[in-house]
């Protein structure tokens, strides 16, 4: 979960990382109650990068200009994203700018401290400027000092900049982050340090164990009324908006392999759902059977999806149970509301004990049950080609 700049800076402030006086602007009217003296910087609060180049950051010197600029930014989409909030912030004259980050690295299987004495937009792409320190054992402040020395800083700057890295690391650990980044860290002519822009990514799995972050996530997603597990962002994978095939399988690797096969055979996949393998150890999440039903419902709601290929291997449910779930969904979707009595068409691929236990049920359901994966893929693509995608 990516935080917006203003949220990241609130955490920075709580952690003791210096940030400028700033104010959140939810609507134009908020600019009238501004407590920060002009000139100020107005910043679009979107999650995508390249905000400055896109015109999402403006310096203004009075209220009239501020209102005009805010109106523009509120309506300016940046990579399809329209900001809900702006940040009004004091202007800062930085003499030098550094880049600092803590990131979880899957190659070393450790958090890594990153830094560059040249902060700015393109630091991440210029690898040769970016210094790294792997936090091999438990963190201690000397890891931060190592980074600072590698960045080429000297003398009185060493301690305060490494103090900021230390605080970033504490935040990283405390909040279960994938990334915390300050870019740039401004250094004034007098040596004062200031986090001018910040990025924070919370690891999705850890959200539920942090009460404060769970509340933020709920607000962000605004999903109070969300009933279907797959309506939650990140539980369904959109492949190609113009596709007409849905894939549902148990296991990420199996779903990806099925996607590759269907695509290679000329099919166009719109959405993939991974309902996960095995039984669920967390009672707060839906069971395997529930995920199967909710997944089929989710795909059936998309009128562009003509064919769904279900690929289930070695599940904890007996094939009979799977067949029952499918017939339930199939019945729901053959109510008068849908034009087609069985929309979308379902093709099921089972192997092993599921296949043997389910054969009778499926023949009654008129859903094709195929053991060979290549064969199931071939039929899926054939069916999809004979049912042209609808215009929405």
């Amino acid at each position: 979960m990516d935080l917006l700049e203003y949220q990241a800076k609130e955490w920075f402030r709580e952690t003791g990382i210096p940030v400028l006086p700033s104010q959140r602007i939810d609507r134009i009217g908020d600019l009238k109650g501004l407590k920060i003296p002009y000139p100020i910087v107005l910043k679009s609060q979107v999650r995508t990068g390249g905000r400055g180049k896109a015109g999402g950051v403006r310096i203004v010197t009075n209220t009239i200009d501020a209102i005009a600029a805010a109106q523009t930014i509120f309506h300016l989409p940046i990579l399809d994203e329209i900001p809900e909030v702006l940040l009004a912030e004091a202007k800062y004259n930085a003499d030098r700018e550094f880049y600092l980050a803590v990131v979880l690295d899957s190659a070393t299987r450790r958090p890594v401290l990153l830094g560059s004495h040249q902060g700015g937009v393109d630091v991440e792409s210029s690898q040769e400027l970016l210094q790294q320190v792997v936090v091999e054992k438990e963190f201690s402040p000397f890891y931060a000092r190592k980074l600072i020395i590698k960045m080429g800083l000297q003398g009185v700057l060493i301690q305060p900049v490494s103090d900021i890295v230390e605080k970033m690391y504490r935040l990283f650990l405390q909040k279960d982050l994938d990334l915390v980044e300050i870019n740039p860290l401004g250094v004034s002519a007098t040596g004062e340090l200031m986090a001018l822009d910040g990025k924070v990514t919370v690891n999705g799995r850890a959200i539920a164990r942090h009460h404060d972050i769970s509340l933020m996530a709920q607000k962000m997603a605004n999903r109070a009324n969300c009933q279907n597990y797959f309506d939650i962002l990140g539980n369904a994978d959109l492949v190609d908006r113009s596709g007409n095939i849905g894939i549902l399988g148990n296991g990420a690797g199996l779903v990806m392999a099925t996607l590759d096969l269907v695509s290679d055979a000329g099919g166009r996949v719109k959405t993939c759902l991974n309902i996960g393998h095995g039984s669920n150890l967390d009672p707060a999440k839906p069971s395997f059977g529930d995920r199967l039903e909710q997944g089929l419902e989710f795909l059936a709601r998309d009128k562009n999806i003509q064919v769904v290929l279900v690929n289930i291997l070695g599940s904890v449910l007996k094939g009979v149970k799977v067949a029952e779930s499918m017939s339930k969904v199939a019945l729901n979707n053959s109510t008068p509301k849908t034009r087609n009595p069985l929309h979308p068409r379902i093709i099921v691929r089972f192997a092993g004990s599921e296949l043997s236990s389910a054969q009778e049920q499926f023949s009654a359901l008129a859903i094709p049950l195929i053991e060979n994966l290549d064969e199931a893929v071939l039929q899926t693509v054939r069916q999809a080609k004979s049912s042209p995608a609808k215009k929405v």
Binding site: R205, G253, L259, L261
Partner: protein, 295 residues
């Protein structure tokens, strides 16, 4: 790694339900499941398996344990694994999924300091067909033989095993290192184990997009593995940047170029290392047969 059929196995997070499915499956396969641990359930018995409140109580009752299987819920995994390490257990298979990656970082530091092997998290474990089942692999797809499978997936591993079995190629062992960004064991470790294992004639490596472990494996195979290796990579057609239920792409790969982690980068790595890559699961068996003939 000790994978003897009679090695003693502990089941952490045992419940009546889990025991009825996975416990029974393992016992039927001959796995020597000697005890279970679940705080609060101590004193009960599921399927003849005695349950204890603490790992050390289980050890006091049944003696030293070779491998523990962890099935506890995601946020309890770290503690369960640390309890096992503190009790002297040095082989840990984490079946549970959803473990926060920083918990895994913490666990790896302890595991390295104590020379403990961690498989998983989010792994179906290890199967030695016909001999030993440590985890949730479905036996119906496997048959004894000479092919080693190492994978990051669970059900995709069954798919590969099924294709090999259908083609008359039995398996010496199949292991999944788990689909998480931070995994306890690596392709490299298992490639080495298979290379030294006398019952293994050829190795099938099943990768997927995300992370850089396939790239590292390709280099390692070219440099150090004598037995034939066939690779298969899932996710060639998947859009970049999505996690597909695995978090292999969530954690950054630092300083190794922007392209690392895509299926294309992995395919290129195997190609340049001269390792045959199957286009689809059903093609693997013919590549294996071809490679075995050449050698």
């Amino acid at each position: 790694m000790n994978l003897q059929p009679d090695s003693k196995i502990l089941f952490q997070g045992i419940t009546a339900e889990l025991c009825a499915t996975h416990g029974v499956q393992m016992k039927d396969y001959g796995t020597n499941l000697v005890a279970g641990v679940n705080p609060g359930l101590g004193g009960q018995t599921f399927e003849d398996i005695p349950v204890f409140d603490l790992v050390e109580q289980a050890l006091a009752a049944v003696g030293a344990i070779d491998t523990t299987l962890i099935f506890v819920s995601a946020y309890q995994v770290l503690d369960a694994a640390l309890e096992a390490i503190a009790a002297g257990i040095r082989q840990i298979i984490i079946v549970s999924s959803g473990m926060p990656p920083l918990d895994m970082v913490h666990l790896l530091r302890k595991a390295e300091a104590t020379e403990t092997i961690i498989i998983g998290p989010n792994s179906p474990g290890i199967i030695v067909p016909g001999k030993l089942l440590l985890g949730t692999h479905r036996r119906e797809f496997y048959t004894p033989g000479g092919i080693g499978i190492v994978s990051r997936s669970s059900t995709l591993t069954y798919e590969i095993a099924l294709e090999l079995t259908k083609a008359g190629l039995g398996q010496s062992m199949a292991v999944s290192i788990g689909g998480d960004a931070i995994a306890g064991s690596s392709f490299l470790q298992w490639l080495q184990i298979f290379d030294e294992d006398e019952t293994t004639n050829a190795i099938v490596l099943v990768g997927e997009l995300g992370g850089n472990s396939e790239e590292a494996a390709a280099q390692y195979i070219a440099a150090a593995i004598d037995k034939p290796v066939i690779a298969y990579i899932a996710g060639r057609k998947a859009p970049a940047g999505r996690h597909w239920g695995h978090t292999g792409t969530l954690a950054a790969v630092v300083g190794r170029g922007g392209d690392v982690g895509t299926a294309q980068s992995k395919l290129a790595a195997f190609k340049s290392a001269g390792i045959p890559v199957a286009e689809k699961p059903s093609q693997i068996s013919e590549l294996v047969k071809k490679a075995l003939k050449v050698k």
